[in-house]
C-alpha cells in the first residue's frame, strides 16, 4: 500500500487569540493520493484557505498531525517547513504572485533556482513547463505584458516545473473571467491525471465542480461527507 502524498489526521487549527480567536478547522481527516483532481469547495470563511495552508505546510495545526511526503509538520521550524514545501509541493495562488521584475521564463526558473537547479538545464526545464501550459511563445514577456489568464498559466508552470508530488491551488480562477478560468482548470485537470501527482484546488465556483474527480466540501471548519464519485483513496472523519 502506498503512503498518501499528504495526510491530515484529526487536524484542528485555531487562528488569532483572545476575543478574536477563531477555530478555523475542526478535526479534519484527509488523505491526498496521486491521480485525479480534488476540489475543495465551501463558502467564504468556511476554512478552505486555512486547510490548504495547513496541508501545504504553511501553517502548522493546533491539534492533529499533517504528513507531507511522509514528513510531519508537527513542531517543524519555519526553515524545515520551507524545506518540506520545496521538496513536495507546488503552489498556485489566487493573485498569481509572479515577480514583476522577472520574465515568464525567469519566474518559472526561479522555482528551480531555489532548489539549486541552475544553468542551461534549468532554462530548458522552464521552457518545457511553459510549453505544457501553452505559453512558451511568451517566455520573454514580463508579467505586466501578460493577461491574467497568461499570468496564471505562468504560475502553474512555476508550480509544476520542479515536478512536486502535490499541486495546491488557492482559488486559481477567482481573478479570471470564465473563459480563462475554464482554460486554467483544464490545464490543472490534465496535470492531475498524472498518477503520481495530487492536485487540490480550492474554489467557491460551483460551475467548476464538474471537472473534479473528487469533491470535498467544507463548512465552519469541518469537512462534509463527500457527495461526488471519487477515484482516489480518502477518508472523511470527524465531521459534524
Amino acid at each position: 500500500m502506498t503512503h498518501p502524498i499528504i495526510a491530515a489526521n484529526n487536524v484542528s487549527k485555531t487562528l488569532g487569540n483572545g476575543a478574536t480567536q477563531v477555530q478555523a478547522l475542526k478535526h479534519v481527516d484527509l488523505s491526498l493520493n496521486g491521480g485525479g483532481l480534488t476540489m475543495l469547495m465551501g463558502p467564504s470563511g468556511s476554512g478552505k484557505t486555512t486547510l490548504l495552508s495547513v496541508l501545504g505546510g504553511m501553517l502548522t495545526p493546533s491539534e492533529g498531525t499533517v504528513l507531507i511526503g511522509g514528513a510531519s509538520t508537527e513542531g517543524a521550524s519555519p526553515d524545515r517547513l520551507a524545506e518540506i514545501r520545496r521538496s513536495h509541493i507546488g503552489f498556485v495562488f489566487q493573485t498569481f504572485h509572479l515577480f514583476p521584475t522577472l520574465t515568464a521564463a525567469e519566474n518559472v526558473q526561479l522555482a528551480l533556482d531555489i532548489r539549486g537547479e541552475r544553468g542551461a538545464a534549468a532554462r530548458f526545464k522552464a521552457r518545457q513547463a511553459l510549453t505544457r501550459v501553452d505559453l512558451v511563445h511568451r517566455a520573454a514577456a514580463f508579467p505586466r505584458e501578460l493577461s491574467g489568464g497568461e499570468q496564471q498559466r505562468v504560475a502553474i508552470a512555476r508550480a509544476i516545473v520542479a515536478e512536486p508530488a502535490a499541486i495546491l491551488a488557492d482559488e486559481p480562477t477567482a481573478a479570471l473571467d470564465s473563459v480563462n478560468g475554464q482554460a486554467i482548470m483544464t490545464i490543472l485537470s490534465a496535470i492531475a491525471q498524472e498518477p503520481d501527482r495530487a492536485v487540490l484546488v480550492v474554489t467557491h465556483d460551483a460551475r467548476l465542480a464538474a471537472l473534479a474527480d473528487r469533491l470535498l466540501r467544507i463548512e465552519d471548519g469541518r469537512l462534509l461527507p463527500e457527495t461526488a464519485p471519487a477515484s482516489n483513496v480518502y477518508r472523511i472523519r470527524g465531521s459534524a
Binding site: 484557505t49 490548504l52 495552508s53 504553511m58 501553517l59 519555519p78 526553515d79 520551507a82 524545506e83 518540506i84 514545501r85 520545496r86 521538496s87 509541493i89 507546488g90 503552489f91 495562488f93 489566487q94 493573485t95 504572485h97 515577480f99 514583476p100 521584475t101 522577472l102 525567469e106 526558473q109 526561479l110 522555482a111 533556482d113 531555489i114 532548489r115 541552475r118 512555476r158 508550480a159 488557492d170
Partner: protein
C-alpha cells in the same frame, strides 16, 4: 547572471528614483569619508615632507622635540660629540625658524627659514625648476617655491627682498615644496639662514646623522642616548611618526578629520538602511511568495544582501571618480588630498560593509514574514 542576482538587480532598478537616492546617499557618504581620509593622508605627508627629503639615517633633535618645526635648540658642540660616537660617518646641522620677508609694498609676511649645507649631505631644496641648489652657497641667496610668488612679491630668479632686515635674492625656485602651515618655506645656506632667523652661531635646531656602512642603527641610537641624554636620536620613520602624532592628534586636527569620516559613515549607513528597508517592504509579498514556494531564508537574505552589494559597488564607483577629480583639483593646493591604493581598497571594504550592514534592518523585517500571508491576498 545568476537568477538571484538578476532578481536583486531588477528589484533595485524597479524603483529608479529610490535607487538613485540610495546611490546619492552612498556617494555622498563615501566622498565625505574619502576627502576626510585623503586630507588625513595628505596632511600626514606634508607634515613629514622635510624629514622625507633629508639625507639622514638618524635625526638628532632636542629631547622631546615634537616635530620638524619644533623650535627647541641644541648646542653646536653636540655635532662634535656625535662625530665621536662609533658608527657615525657624518653630521650635518640644520637650523629652522620663523622670520619676516619684506614685500615690495613695504609690508612684511612671515616665512619659515630652513638652513643647512648646500652640499648633498645637507637638507637642500628639491624639485628645483629654476636656478640651482649650488647657487645657494652665494651670499644672500635663497630658494623659494613658485607657488608663493604672489605671497612673497617676487616673480622668479633674481627677485630681491630683505629677510629680517638682511638682503636676500632668489637664486633657486622649487615646484611643489609647500608648507602645511601655509607659511612659505625659504631655503638658505646655513650661515645665511642663521642670520635670517637671528640664531647665534653656537645654536642648531637639528642634526642629520649619516652612519658608516654596516653600522647597527639601534646600537648607534643607544650610544647617542647614553652620551647625550638631552637629545633624541630618531630614525626618519620614528621622527615622521612623532611629527604626525603631534600635528594630527596633538592638535586635534586628526580627530576632526576622523569625526568627519565617521559622520560620513553614519549618514551612508542610515541612507542605505532606510532605502533598503523601504524597498524590502515594497517587495514584501514577493519575499513571502519566495518563502511560500519553499525558498530557504538564506536565499532571501542573498537577494537583499546582493541589492546592498550592487548599491555599494555602483555608489563606490561613482564616488571614486569624484574622489579622483577632487585629488586632481587639490593637487596644487597647500594641502593636497591624497588617495592611495590602500585607502581606495579600505574605502571599498568600508562601503561594502556599510551597505551590507545596512541590509540587516531589511533582513530583520523579512525574518518575521509569514509565508501564509500570500494565501490571504
Amino acid at each position: 547572471m545568476a537568477l538571484v542576482a538578476t532578481l536583486a538587480s531588477r528589484n533595485l532598478l524597479h524603483d529608479r528614483l529610490r535607487f538613485v537616492a540610495t546611490l546619492i546617499g552612498i556617494v555622498f557618504s563615501v566622498v565625505l569619508v574619502m576627502v576626510q581620509m585623503g586630507l588625513y593622508l595628505g596632511f600626514g605627508r606634508m607634515v613629514t615632507t622635510m624629514i622625507d627629503h633629508a639625507p639622514a639615517d638618524l635625526w638628532v633633535v632636542a629631547r622631546g622635540a615634537k616635530s620638524f618645526e619644533d623650535l627647541s635648540l641644541l648646542d653646536a658642540q653636540v655635532g662634535n660629540r656625535l662625530l665621536s660616537i662609533g658608527g657615525v660617518a657624518g653630521v650635518t646641522p640644520v637650523v629652522i625658524g620663523f622670520s619676516g620677508w619684506r614685500l615690495p609694498s613695504g609690508g612684511m609676511t612671515p616665512v619659515f627659514v630652513v638652513g643647512s649645507n648646500v652640499t648633498p649631505d645637507g637638507l637642500r631644496p628639491w624639485n628645483v625648476v629654476a636656478g640651482s641648489v649650488e647657487a645657494l652657497a652665494g651670499s644672500d641667496a635663497v630658494a623659494v617655491d613658485k607657488t608663493y610668488y604672489d605671497r612673497l612679491g617676487v616673480t622668479g630668479i633674481g627677485g630681491r627682498t630683505e629677510i629680517r632686515g638682511r638682503p636676500a635674492e632668489v637664486a633657486a625656485v622649487t615646484d611643489g615644496v609647500r608648507s602645511f602651515t601655509t607659511t612659505p618655506y625659504v631655503f638658505a645656506d646655513l650661515d645665511n639662514a642663521r642670520a635670517y632667523i637671528g640664531l647665534p652661531a653656537n645654536k642648531v635646531s637639528h642634526f642629520l646623522v649619516r652612519l658608516k656602512a654596516g653600522a647597527d642603527i639601534r646600537h648607534v641610537q643607544n650610544d647617542i642616548h647614553s652620551a647625550l641624554p638631552d637629545v633624541d636620536a630618531l630614525t626618519p620613520a620614528q621622527f615622521g611618526q612623532r611629527s604626525r602624532s603631534f600635528w594630527l592628534f596633538g592638535t586635534g586636527a586628526g580627530a576632526a578629520l576622523f569625526a568627519g569620516a565617521l559622520l560620513g559613515v553614519i549618514v551612508g549607513t542610515v541612507v542605505v538602511a532606510q532605502t533598503l528597508y523601504s524597498s524590502t517592504k515594497d517587495h514584501l509579498y514577493e519575499f513571502a511568495t519566495l518563502r511560500a514556494i519553499g525558498c530557504s531564508r538564506s536565499y532571501v537574505y542573498t537577494v537583499i544582501v546582493l541589492q546592498a552589494l550592487i548599491s555599494a559597488v555602483l555608489g563606490f564607483a561613482v564616488a571614486a571618480v569624484i574622489g579622483f577629480a577632487v585629488v586632481a583639483a587639490t593637487a596644487n593646493s597647500s594641502l593636497p588630498i591624497v588617495i592611495t591604493p590602500a585607502l581606495l581598497a579600505a574605502l571599498l571594504l568600508l562601503t561594502v560593509g556599510m551597505c551590507v550592514g545596512s541590509a540587516f534592518a531589511a533582513i530583520s523585517r523579512v525574518v518575521r514574514l509569514d509565508p501564509a500571508m500570500v494565501m490571504a491576498r
